[in-house]
């Protein structure tokens, strides 16, 4: 048998309801916010004293302390007030973007100092030394209005969400979840093209990374790490779902993919982030924070190990990160996992940062997955060591009344906001497993809440399926880096949504139609579908997520293939797109020439046969009969000149 379905049967879990009286702010965030409020109170008090008793210069300084840039207006330099406000916005973005925690205080302080220096200086259109006294009350009004507006938005959002709780709990009590799709779809020509692309990418010469989108590495949607993650996850799914009985070649490809994560170009960004955000010049990408790299890589290795059984990354020093000056940071699967666990323990918030000072829910879910998956494949208990505290942080710091979680939280001052990365700055679940492995009851609640929005849309789309196709011309969507659009992205959402609602017919139709509508006819390093590398990775993940999806794979761990296996062949000459044993006795194989129209004569070496038993290999190609050797092995020569679908089975006695 090829894929064991021990699925996250979420429907069997007791419903987890929402708190009837949710707290506005969690205890740690409250403490951090209180610290911020005290700091601001002192700051405003000092500003007020300077306004009350200071000279003109000190009054200008103090006015800017009450509202950034207001001091410039006080000394009749309104242009500089506008410049300050623009600078505050840029500082805010840099605070989030590169962890420049000093940016806003620096701009604020500079606006105060600048106003003080200009107090007795020249003016643009008014007389030297002019001051506008009416600015002082305006500065106070601006400060009160800004803070009041923020508090009002927080409170109104809280009340709006809290009012929904009774209705949502009523719904959650009776919500039924669709069964996950667990039937395996036989790979088609587009699957073969995508697999070919993955192999070409993995085995490109000189440790290359051609085929990715290159750009800045912080937030712009061109982060190499996420592109590499998604491609490796997708290939792991293919290995587990379609090639469990021919693991040789794809295992080597996946090992190569993991090693490519150690390419300096993939993790070099961390040095700058660590320096700016932590004032720490250490470029080691695993040791501290940077959960968006360490945890994601840990989860990637979990998936690769669960799909293939490889143990190469369990060896000490198997993951070597070499910095530009030759410093080498050596890790392996175990020490990487331990670093993630240690960072969880070190964090007072309970979640630890991606960019220094910013803890994202999605990345910390990936961190939990990294621990959980390691435990599954290695029998450790790292997740249990942090689970209680982690869950407390999720439930008490990040949860909002309607069951959604804040996307981001500052480890320093406890604030969150809608950064524009995800709609509304909240989601019901995230990470590649959406809580299915780490917290099944949370997964069930999240899925039920997501279904409220998705089910009607998917139902409407499902009614449009005809002849196994979804004949829609979907408008292209902007890629995250916003330099181009992709026709594939809306299809990723439809296939993912159809999987969420368990509509297999819609999944199959969307897979078929998306391939027809988005195919480019190109091959690596270009892409066979119209999308960025990240988009392509996401598409392959949703396309290849049955019978096992990423959560199912992580929860299952590695299982030795049962039934006959294709142990070896001329992998460079032939593309094996399917090798599964549906019954544990036979083997279904699909192969095609690696190069188009190149008929190749190859040998298939089989293993795990019943010694001394007669077998036949038959299908769309030549038929062969043979008897397995005493070691359960046998070899068959055949010509592959087109796509062949063959079945290896015990010969039926005449």
């Amino acid at each position: 048998m090829t894929a064991t379905i021990d699925h996250h049967d979420l429907a069997a879990t007791e419903p987890l309801l929402l708190p009837e009286r949710p707290a506005r702010i969690g205890p740690t965030s409250r403490r951090l916010l209180a610290r911020l409020v005290v700091g601001l109170a002192v700051w405003f008090a000092v500003g007020s004293v300077l306004i009350a008793v200071g000279s003109t210069a000190w009054r200008a300084f103090g006015t800017s302390m009450i509202f950034p840039g207001a001091g410039f207006l006080y000394v009749a330099w309104p242009v500089l007030t506008l410049v300050t406000l623009v600078a505050v916005v840029i500082a805010l973005v840099l605070w989030w973007g590169v962890s420049a925690h000093f940016a806003i205080p620096l701009v604020w302080l500079a606006s105060a100092a600048g106003a003080a220096l200009l107090a007795d200086g020249p003016r643009l259109v008014v007389d030297r030394g002019t001051t506008w006294g009416w600015v002082v009350p305006l500065a106070y009004a601006g400060a009160v209005a800004t803070l009041g507006w923020m508090v009002w938005r927080i409170e109104s959002a809280y009340r709006r969400k809290a009012a929904k709780v009774p209705e949502l709990n009523e719904y959650l009590r009776s919500a039924t979840l669709p069964a996950p799709i667990t039937s395996r779809r036989a790979p088609d020509e587009m699957d073969a093209e995508l697999l070919r692309w993955c192999y070409d990418f993995a085995f490109q010469p000189e440790d290359g990374l051609d085929g990715l989108d290159w750009g800045e590495q912080f937030h712009g949607g061109t982060q190499l790490r996420y592109q590499m993650n998604s491609l490796t996850w997708a290939m792991s799914l293919y290995a587990a779902n379609h090639l469990p009985n021919a693991p040789g070649h794809i295992t080597r490809a996946l090992e190569t993919m993991v090693r490519k994560h150690t390419d300096l170009r993939v993790w070099k960004y961390w040095h700058a982030l660590n320096l700016i955000g932590n004032f720490d010049p250490n470029p080691d990408p695993i040791r501290r924070d940077n959960i968006m790299f360490s945890a994601f890589l840990g989860d990637v290795i979990n998936c690769v190990e669960a799909a293939t059984g490889t143990e190469v990354f369990d060896q000490p020093g198997s993951l070597e990160f070499v910095w530009s000056d030759g410093r080498t940071f050596s890790y392996d699967h175990h020490t990487l996992t331990e670093a993630v666990r240690r960072n969880f323990e070190r964090s007072s918030l309970g979640f630890f940062p991606c960019e220094p000072g910013w803890s994202f829910t999605v990345c910390n879910v990936m961190g939990a997955q990294a621990l959980y998956g390691h435990d599954v494949v290695h029998g450790t208990d790292t997740w249990e060591q942090v689970r209680e505290r982690w869950q407390h942080t999720l439930d008490h710091e990040y949860l909002t009344p309607d069951g959604s979680y804040a996307h981001i939280r500052s480890n320093h001052i406890g604030v969150s906001w809608d950064t524009g990365e995800v709609p509304g700055g909240h989601y019901f679940a995230n990470g590649t497993h959406r809580f299915a492995d780490i917290l099944p009851a949370h997964a069930r609640r999240a899925k039920a809440l997501e279904l409220r929005g998705a089910a009607p849309k998917m139902g409407a789309l499902s009614s449009m399926v005809h002849d196994g196709r979804l004949d829609l011309d979907l408008p292209p969507e902007l890629e995250r880096h916003r330099t181009r659009t992709s026709k594939l992205l809306p299809w990723v959402k439809i296939i993912g949504g159809a999987r969420l609602v368990g509509d297999e017919r819609l999944v199959d139709a969307a897979i078929r139609s998306s391939a027809e509508k988005c195919a480019t006819g190109e091959r690596w390093p270009n892409r066979p579908l119209d999308a960025s590398a990240s988009g392509l990775g996401s598409y392959m993940i949703v396309r290849w997520s049955a019978p096992l999806d990423l959560a199912g794979l992580a929860m299952r761990g590695f299982v030795d293939p049962v039934g006959p296996v294709l142990a070896d062949t001329a992998w460079d000459d032939v593309l094996v797109t399917e090798a599964v044993s549906p019954d544990g006795d036979s083997l279904r194989l699909a192969l095609q020439p690696r190069i188009d129209d190149a008929a190749v004569r190859i040998t298939l070496w089989f293993g795990q046969l019943r010694p001394g038993v007669a077998y036949t290999l038959a299908g769309t190609g030549e038929a062969h009969s043979f008897v397995a050797g005493d070691d359960g092995a046998a070899a068959v020569e055949l010509t592959v000149d087109r796509t062949l679908v063959l079945v290896l089975a015990e010969a039926v006695a005449p």
């Binding site: 990715l212 300096l264 530009s324 906001w417 990365e421």
Partner: protein
Amino acid sequence: MISFRINCAQVWVRLVRFVCKVTRRPQVTYDAPPMPARSPARSAR
């Protein structure tokens, strides 16, 4: 929870676009740049 109305992700992309324009570098390219040059080796960890 503090809530602002500034779409940081969008502003970020615009900042990147601006910097790329000033430095005359493409914002997104499909050609992998070479590995960063190595400086003289320091003591290994």
